[in-house]
């Protein structure tokens, strides 16, 4: 959905609610249920899509606060769309507080905490089936630092003018995509062989400093952990506009595969309504693979089950094997097998372990990565 259609749909929705009230009928707000139990996966589509389940909020004494807050914030967001102003969620929290301060009648709507206003914004997005960026509410850009000697990006600015960025002219500085990369146009100055998404931003930076982009016609991206909307949308853009193969290089552990890689490739259950624009289904898992440990004699170590976050990651991985349609699909059986291997052996191996193969050769990880791509040694 685009920003232009949102005011129209919002007005229709409010009109419907008002008509219901006039006839003393309870208005009902419906939103897509964004959870794993309402996620479908088809390899043809390539990402998680929403099922038929809806979250229905019927107006009653208990829900009148939630509904009033939703309509109140919707009015603020529509005003932003009208004026072209943009805000973050935190700014919107303070804008809402400011409105309450200036109009004492609105006091009952006051948000005690940002999490309360965030939840209302998410509810509005799910109700209108749009991204929050469509409502001019932008997240802080995180991750996606991109290096390439071949890529040229053209950005269409809000005033219609265009900005052209040749990434080869940035030196060692990266290009960082925005949370709404749909306004970017990509072009390759020269044939690009592949795009490599590295889980660790630090390692991506090391590769560049060691000349990775000079030796390879490639795009190198640092994901910086769980991919943000910017990274996901950016990978999707590279996949669709440049049609180059994309590989993900990260740790061999349950969290990376179940959380980071799955989100990059197929989106997440929490963002079912925007997975179509924020996932890159063609991305491949390059490593670290379980067989790499033996092949390159990498140092791995046991998962600390006493560590809360690691224990939680294992539990989530076990749940994913049972309930996540992505891992249940037979096209992804190799990924599921890898999760099973991790659950059974309870070991993990980090991406940086490739640096131990030849400690005196800083380009050894690059050599292994290129070799793996050439030999098709990925999932």
């Amino acid at each position: 959905m685009r920003s232009e259609t949102i005011p129209k749909i919002s007005k229709e929705l409010c009109n419907r609610m008002l008509s219901d009230l006039e006839s003393a009928r309870r208005p009902i707000l419906e939103a897509v249920k964004c959870s794993l139990d309402n996620s479908n996966y088809s390899p043809k589509v390539g990402y998680l899509t929403p099922g038929d389940k809806k979250v229905r909020t019927e107006l009653n004494v208990s829900s009148v606060q939630k509904m009033s807050r939703a309509i109140f914030l919707l009015e603020v967001l529509l005003r932003n769309i009208d004026t072209g102003a943009v805000n973050t969620k935190r700014e919107l929290y303070y804008i809402a507080k400011g409105e309450v301060k200036h109009d004492p009648h609105l006091k009952p709507l006051d948000f005690q905490d940002q999490s309360e206003s965030d939840a209302v914004i998410d509810f509005i997005c799910e109700m209108l089936e749009c991204y929050r960026e469509d409502l001019n509410c932008y997240a802080n850009d995180r991750g996606g630092q991109t290096y390439s000697n071949q890529l040229v990006v053209t950005e269409t600015l809000p005033d219609g003018t265009k900005a052209v960025v040749d990434l080869s002219s940035l030196g060692t500085s990266p290009f960082q995509p925005k949370n709404r990369p749909q306004s970017l146009q990509l072009k390759a100055k020269k044939k690009i062989d592949f795009c490599l998404v590295v889980e660790s931003e630090g390692t991506a930076n090391t590769f560049v400093a060691n000349g990775f982009c000079k030796r390879n016609n490639s795009i190198l991206i640092g994901a910086q952990g769980v991919p943000s909307n910017a990274v996901r949308g950016w990978a999707k853009l590279i996949q669709d506009q440049l049609r180059v193969p994309i590989y993900f290089f990260g740790d061999l552990d349950a969290y990376t595969i179940q959380n980071i890689y799955r989100t990059l490739k197929a989106g997440s259950a929490a963002s079912l309504i925007r997975n179509s624009d924020f996932s890159a289904p063609d991305v491949h898992f390059l490593g670290v693979l379980p067989e790499d440990i033996k092949k390159y004699d990498l140092s791995d170590y046991p998962v600390k089950e006493t560590d809360q976050s690691e224990a939680r990651a294992l539990k989530k991985a076990a749940d994913a094997l049972k309930n996540d349609p992505f891992f249940q699909d037979k096209r992804n059986k190799n990924l599921a097998k890898m999760l099973e291997w991790l659950l059974k052996n309870k070991r993990r191996c980090e991406q940086q372990a490739f640096f131990m193969v030849d400690p005196r050769d800083p380009t050894m990880p690059e050599k292994i990565i290129v070799e793996k791509i050439k030999k098709g040694n990925f999932i």
Binding site: S10, K11, C14, N15, M17, L18, D20, L21, E22, S23, A24, R25, R26, L59, N60, V61, S62, V64, Q65, M67, S68, I71, F72, L74, E75, L78, H105, L106, K107, P108, L109
Partner: protein, 599 residues
Amino acid sequence: MAKDKITSSSTAEYFSKNLQQVGFSSPTKAVLTTLKEAVDNSLDACEEQGILPEISVVIEKKGTGTLKNTDLIHIRVEDNGPGLSLDDVPKVFGEYLASSKFGRGRCSRGQQGIGISAATTWAQLTSAKGVTVTTKTKTMRQAVQVQVAVDIKHNKGVLKEKKEGKLKNPHGLSVEFLIDGRIQLQGEGGLITYLTGTALVNPHLTLHYTLPDQKPVTISRVSNDCPEVPSATEPHPHTMKLGEFIAHSHLFGRITLKAWLKKGFSRISDNSLAEFVKNGLNKKMLDMSVDKINEAQFKDIFSVIHKTELMSPSTKSVMTIGEESFSKSVRRLGEVDFFSVVTRKPTICDYKPVAVEVAVARLKGMTKGEGTEDGPVQVLRFANRVPLQFDKSACAMVKAIESVNWRAYGLQQPKDSLPSGPYVVAVSLVSPFIKFKNASKETIDASDELVEELRRTLIQAGQRLSRHIKKEHREQDLENKLRYIEQFCPILVDCLCRITKAPEKRKKKATEGLEKILGRDLTAAKKEFKEADLAAKEAAAKGKIQIITDDAVEAAEPEEKPSKGKKREVKSQQPEAKPAKTAAKSSVKRAASKEKSAT
């Protein structure tokens, strides 16, 4: 072979070197334990003679102590008990394991005869003075004051400086200790916590106390019935070990086995003897004299008895405070809002008779620490009517409280923890054989059976309490709904009209429609509130829960002599103390009038 000569030490020598085992492990504990031992002895002595106890406690700082970071503390406890004859004074205060209660199987506070002698030893070790005792029995013409010291080498009490003394009462006892210690008033090991706790489980006690930097306090008795400590019953054979069993036989001299088993134990009848024979006991042996039976034969007899099913031990030897007295006493805890009290019938846990009583009360005006809105509830633990103040977490009572799902009764409770909120949960366990984890009697061992019995009592108290809490929740719910209608209706309609640019006419109609919709919800909420209110009133009428008002507190003032068997039943009406509730009530009234006008 060891070259050193093996010597034997007296009991007093052992305890003087291990005072930490009996409650003198820190200067704070030393003050509390000394006070505790003196008050417990006074209460036991009064109850033995059927005297309603009146105890005065004075604690003062007298300077700096000889130990590091301590003060010199003067503790004086005076009672109106029967007093002690001069012959008994050195035994009671200066001799370890000299007790009138040891192993008698009665629910008295003191059991072994260690505590007060340990306090004398502590005083002797830290201030080089023993205890000053002033005593007067009914038969003594004049009170006598003596100093008692412990002859550590020979475990004997030594009297010094005998002179005429003065007492407030015609008979009684006063003890004075000068010890090194530190004073803690509130909290787990606090003196005030101990004194108010003692008053709670002893409704017949009048207690005067003066503590440093505090105004003198008097807690008057709320019951004029002096509890009768039931006499002990004979031991149950299944509760004994072989060694104890044989030793028990020595107490009866020349007596036949048959007679010994019937006389020396509870729950052994002629039928039981026939059962023993059926289970392999040689019939001839029953007529043998016990002093002729050898060890192997004792072993056979013992195993046959253990193989045979016997009736559970009698519960006659345990006593309870009683719901009525406990209810009156709970009000002395502070500003109590409402409470429920449960006294369970005595039962058998681990072959021992026990009686459990629980009071759960909501307090007003608690602002700091336990028992506040955000903190965990305040737990008061009592064993044989003595407050337990240390090592709370390992205690069976705390384990039982944590095992109850208090959320079901309207209290908040983090997982596997104590519930939270401004409540006091008082748990009292009475038994002639309480299994403590240590000699200083601070923690009760958590056996499964005991925890289950405690848990059942707590559940009963929680269920009673929940009726009132549910009513409050419904009341709050109704109030919220009323408030929501007033607050959100205009906002929602205004926002919708601004977005759709709707005319004033539509706005008016939508407002009316919205009020109708929410009015329906309100009717349902009112019905729920009425039902909860009715349930709470019924519970109050049956005495299962008591709601306190200011009038009721005044009416229950200590000097009143309450009539037996009549429970106070008060309705909750408290305009000043509960502004929020008043607002709720006025809103509820408003809703009722609105409903009327609508119909």
